[in-house]
């Protein structure tokens, strides 16, 4: 193989690698874009696809948070992995209360934040249920967020 054709071969392989990086990045961003969020500033937000959650005998919906478009669409029982590794569900009402998802105004938000910064707890354990919302299969920990040292 002469030098010229060898150089062409190397450039072809490198070009393919660069194309692969660009294509992979584009696919990862466009396919996985969260609902309502754009991949570019001023771009079109990704569409919202409504999840259809099953219902248990008690009339509670259950499923994954990652399928919900907005908090009001989230199921009554949220799919989690318990501390013992078992899959089960926690009550959305319990989770929302502990995480501060119920905050409904900027004034409440500032008060919540102040309380978080002065809180003494690091984590709180809540029960994990089977999809019937009754049988307990484990526990799940909610950890209190702190300011990150990185930005």
């Amino acid at each position: 193989m002469n030098i010229r054709s060898r150089r062409m071969a190397v450039l072809t392989v490198l070009g393919a690698a660069v194309l692969g990086l660009a294509a992979g990045s584009a696919v990862a961003q466009s396919v996985l874009a969260p609902a309502g969020v754009a991949v570019d500033e001023g771009g079109d937000p990704a569409p919202a696809l409504q999840a259809d959650y099953p219902t248990n005998a008690a009339g509670q919906t259950y499923g994954s948070l990652s399928d919900a478009v907005a908090p009001e669409d989230e199921p009554d029982l949220i799919l989690v992995v318990a501390s013992n590794g078992a899959e089960g569900y926690v009550l959305k009402s319990t989770l929302d209360e502990l995480t501060g998802a119920n905050v409904s105004s900027p004034e409440e938000a500032v008060a919540w934040q102040l309380a978080q910064e002065t809180a003494t707890w690091d984590s709180i354990s809540i029960p994990v249920f089977a999809s019937d919302g009754v049988a307990i299969v484990g526990s799940f920990e909610v950890t209190r967020s702190v300011a990150s040292p990185e930005s």
């Binding site: 072809t12 692969g20 969020v37 499923g63 967020s145």
Partner: protein, 156 residues
């Protein structure tokens, strides 16, 4: 004959290079101490924002990892309490592995402010980590919630 073989080898190598690069970036694997997602952009109530998820690992203590969700104001002014961020993680089947608590901006934010960047969801003794957080913006009557891109996997 030899030329044809060389061409075939080059094509095979190019296909391998493309496929490897595509898979690595599409799935996302990072080997350093921090893996960060792409930015997502949104606007609400006259303020423009961007968000992202990150996962950090700390080898100094029990292979600890934690998720960070970052919310930035890119244009306009967000008064105190307008911006929220929540770090959390899911497994591949959508099960919530862990969650932090919502953090809200306790002071006004502009494009020159640092991000709201709560860390939470501390995890120990796992080999691969990824973060998938949410952020919030006050729309004048309630909070609008936005997902952040999932971070690449972070190998411990």
């Amino acid at each position: 004959m030899a030329t044809r073989r060389r061409t075939r080898v080059t094509v095979i190598l190019a296909i391998c290079a493309f496929t490897t690069a595509f898979i690595l970036t599409a799935i996302g694997v990072a080997a350093a101490g921090q893996a960060v997602s792409a930015y997502g952009y949104y606007s609400n109530n006259g303020v423009s924002y961007k968000n992202k998820s990150a996962i950090n690992t700390n080898h100094s203590y029990n292979h600890q990892a934690y998720a960070v969700t970052l919310a930035y104001v890119t244009a306009g002014t967000a008064p105190s309490g307008w911006v929220g961020a929540l770090p959390r993680r899911f497994n591949d089947s959508g099960g919530l592995l862990c969650t932090g608590t919502w953090s809200y901006s306790s002071s006004q934010m502009t494009s020159s402010s640092g991000p709201l960047n709560p860390a939470g969801c501390f995890i120990y003794n796992h080999s691969i980590y990824a973060a998938d957080g949410q952020t919030r913006a006050w729309n004048g009557s309630s909070y609008s919630t936005y997902g952040a891109f999932t971070s690449p996997n972070q190998n411990s």
